[in-house]
């Protein structure tokens, strides 16, 4: 038994010196957060070099000192529009995530109730999730009409299952823990046990999931915009920008699509990194 334990690297405690220091762990959380905050701040506060919606006569100009990321076929400055889009895409994804977080956590806690309903909720989610979520989002927006509110609602709906699932599965574990038994033993009521003992012990993993949900939502919003059924085409959006530049890719004007693509990539990367770090630090806290 001891031999197998020693051979398995995951069960061996890492030597002290190799543990990431607190400072470095902070960095892993604050660098991506800082990048995202910088993107939002730039979108709202920074003076843009050009109007992000105003066509210039200089169409499809290559990136240079004048237009850092060139211009598109309408003559709109790509850099300005890219920055402005951050102020649309990221808040939309955040809003959609927040709604799904609240709804999902409440549903997840409700699904913890003993009896047949918890199991039924999970079965229903299975059916729901078997459906391709992007297709579902497209269908929802197409049904409800494409305006910003409906995009947010669609984002919220497709993200609810992941929170319900997470909260239920975590809750099932935590509910069996000794401290929950202790809470019952001191006479705590059901709601008190839920909100003081069960829920606080899964905040870390919920936040990690939330960050992942935002990353996913960014991609969905971009997809909807790319298909032209998301946000109103006049509003700045990375997906719409990629779409605008798509025809020019074949003729060599790569910058119109590639830069918004990179912006999506960077944003998703940041949210994923935050999620990873949250999950890691949560795991460490749990082991302690």
């Amino acid at each position: 038994m001891t031999e197998t334990l020693a051979a398995d690297p995951t069960t061996v405690t890492a030597p002290k010196g190799r543990k990431p220091r607190r400072g470095r762990r902070r960095l892993r959380l604050w660098v991506p957060s800082g990048i995202l905050a910088g993107m939002l701040a730039a979108a709202y506060l920074a003076p843009l070099p050009y109007d992000p919606a105003e066509p210039l006569p200089d169409t499809l100009a290559a990136p240079d000192g004048e237009h850092w990321m060139g211009t598109d076929k309408f003559g709109i400055d790509v850099f300005s529009r890219l920055v402005a889009s951050a102020g649309v895409d990221i808040p939309l994804a955040l809003a959609g995530m927040l709604i799904s977080l609240v709804v999902g956590v409440l549903l997840g806690l409700a699904a913890l109730h003993r009896g047949p309903w918890g199991e039924r909720v999970v079965r229903a989610l299975d059916v729901f999730q078997a459906f391709p979520l992007l297709v579902l989002a497209i269908a929802l927006v197409a049904l409800m009409g494409n305006n910003i509110e409906n995009v947010v609602v669609a984002i919220a709906i497709i993200n609810v299952p992941r929170f319900v699932r997470l909260v239920r599965s975590e809750g099932l574990t935590i509910r069996e823990s000794r401290y929950v038994e202790a809470a019952h033993a001191i006479g705590a009521t059901g709601p008190r046990v839920m909100f003081r003992h069960v829920l606080p012990n899964m905040t870390g993993i919920i936040l990690a999931q939330a960050s992942l949900a935002v990353a996913h939502s960014i991609v969905v919003i971009a997809s909807l915009s790319f298909l032209g059924i998301g946000i109103n085409a006049a509003d700045a959006s990375w997906g719409a920008m990629i779409q605008t530049g798509a025809q020019n890719m074949t003729t060599g004007q790569w910058w119109v699509s590639v830069f918004p693509g990179l912006a999506i990539f960077l944003t998703v990367l940041c949210f994923n990194a935050i999620s990873d770090e949250l999950q890691d630090s949560f795991g460490r806290a749990r082991q302690r």
Binding site: S177, Y179, E181, A183, A185, G187, A188, H197, P200, N201
Partner: protein, 319 residues
């Protein structure tokens, strides 16, 4: 009126829908105010189940539980919650029993927040501070999280949480078995001091004979879900009547490492808890067992004024 009275309590767990585990079989016990009843037995003897049943943290399959004359099993949920201020539990795993996201002061203060919501917060805080001091924790510990405390300190927090509402009964589920030996004595001393000070009755669950000898007034020896012997601990230790008790006491290691150990008295392994036993639960392992041990039910019967033994020939010389 005794503080806690369990009468003919049985608990059967269903495992996987097909197998039944007979955790407790017709157990009757009483704990009187201010005394310590120690329940001793090996793992799987049902002693932890017994502790949880005594507080109705789990429901018995049969039998009744009375606390200060109140039928606990008849209480509605709200009444039961109220009663929990008076009957508390301290767990074996100090860290696992404390919410890792709550500070010590909040953990200790929670029973007050539940049971005395109308008491001003400042009064509750000062009560928490007093109890934290009473269990021997430094005042600055109040702001710590459980993960920042040592095992002994964590168990002190568990004790503080249990006594903050001034209960009259505490179930101690192996409160020291996960602690270092040096810390163990301190915690036992603290529990003894608190009992003298507050007059609480203890239902002390343990598998450790030395601990039990140190703390108990009376003792109940459990084996395979049944109580096989009860009585004042001095007398049970001095003159055990049940073959299992004898084997248990003989198996305790002596302090002197050079002292020769007596030969093992029991043969074989305990019968599986999923089997329904008729007759004596020790039959087959018992050195003095005979046919009539399985032919008839062997129940706890009075041995003398304050002792009872579940054996048809208690104190048999061969054992």
């Amino acid at each position: 009126m005794s503080l806690l009275e369990l009468t003919n309590v049985s608990k059967e767990f269903s495992v996987g829908g097909t197998t039944t585990v007979y955790a407790l079989d017709d157990v009757s016990l009483t704990v009187n105010a201010g005394e310590t009843l120690a329940v001793i037995g090996e793992s799987g003897s049902g002693k932890s189940t017994l502790g949880r049943l005594a507080l109705r943290l789990i429901e018995p399959t049969r039998g009744s539980v009375h606390f200060q004359g109140t039928d606990m099993l008849a209480l509605p949920a709200a009444g039961l919650r109220q009663l929990r201020a008076k009957a508390q539990i301290i767990f074996q795993e100090p860290f696992e029993s404390l919410n890792p996201r709550m500070r010590v002061a909040d953990i200790v203060g929670e029973p007050l927040a539940i049971h005395q919501p109308k008491t001003p917060a400042a009064d509750r805080r000062s009560r928490v501070a007093r109890v934290i001091d009473q269990v021997g924790l430094a005042p600055e510990m109040a702001r710590r999280f459980p993960g920042e405390l040592s095992g002994g300190q964590q168990q002190r927090v568990g004790i503080a949480r249990a006594i903050v509402t001034e209960p009259s009964l505490i179930v101690l589920d192996e409160p020291t078995s996960s602690l270092d030996l040096s810390v163990r004595a301190q915690i036992l001393q603290l529990l003894a001091d608190l009992q003298t000070e507050l007059g609480m009755g203890y239902l002390f669950i343990s598998h450790d004979i030395h601990t039990v000898r140190y703390v108990s007034d009376r003792i109940a020896v459990m084996y395979r879900g049944r109580v096989v012997e009860t009585g004042p601990s001095e007398r049970v230790f001095a003159d055990p009547q049940h073959p299992y008790t004898r084997a248990l006491l003989a198996a305790a290691l002596p302090v002197d490492p050079d002292q020769e150990l007596p030969p093992a008295r029991l043969v074989g392994d305990p019968v599986s808890p999923t089997e329904k036993v008729s007759g004596c639960v020790l039959y087959g392992r018992c050195p003095v067992g005979e046919d009539r041990c399985v032919q008839n039910e062997v129940r706890l019967t009075p041995f003398d004024a304050d002792r009872a033994v579940a054996c048809i020939k208690p104190g048999a010389p061969g054992s």
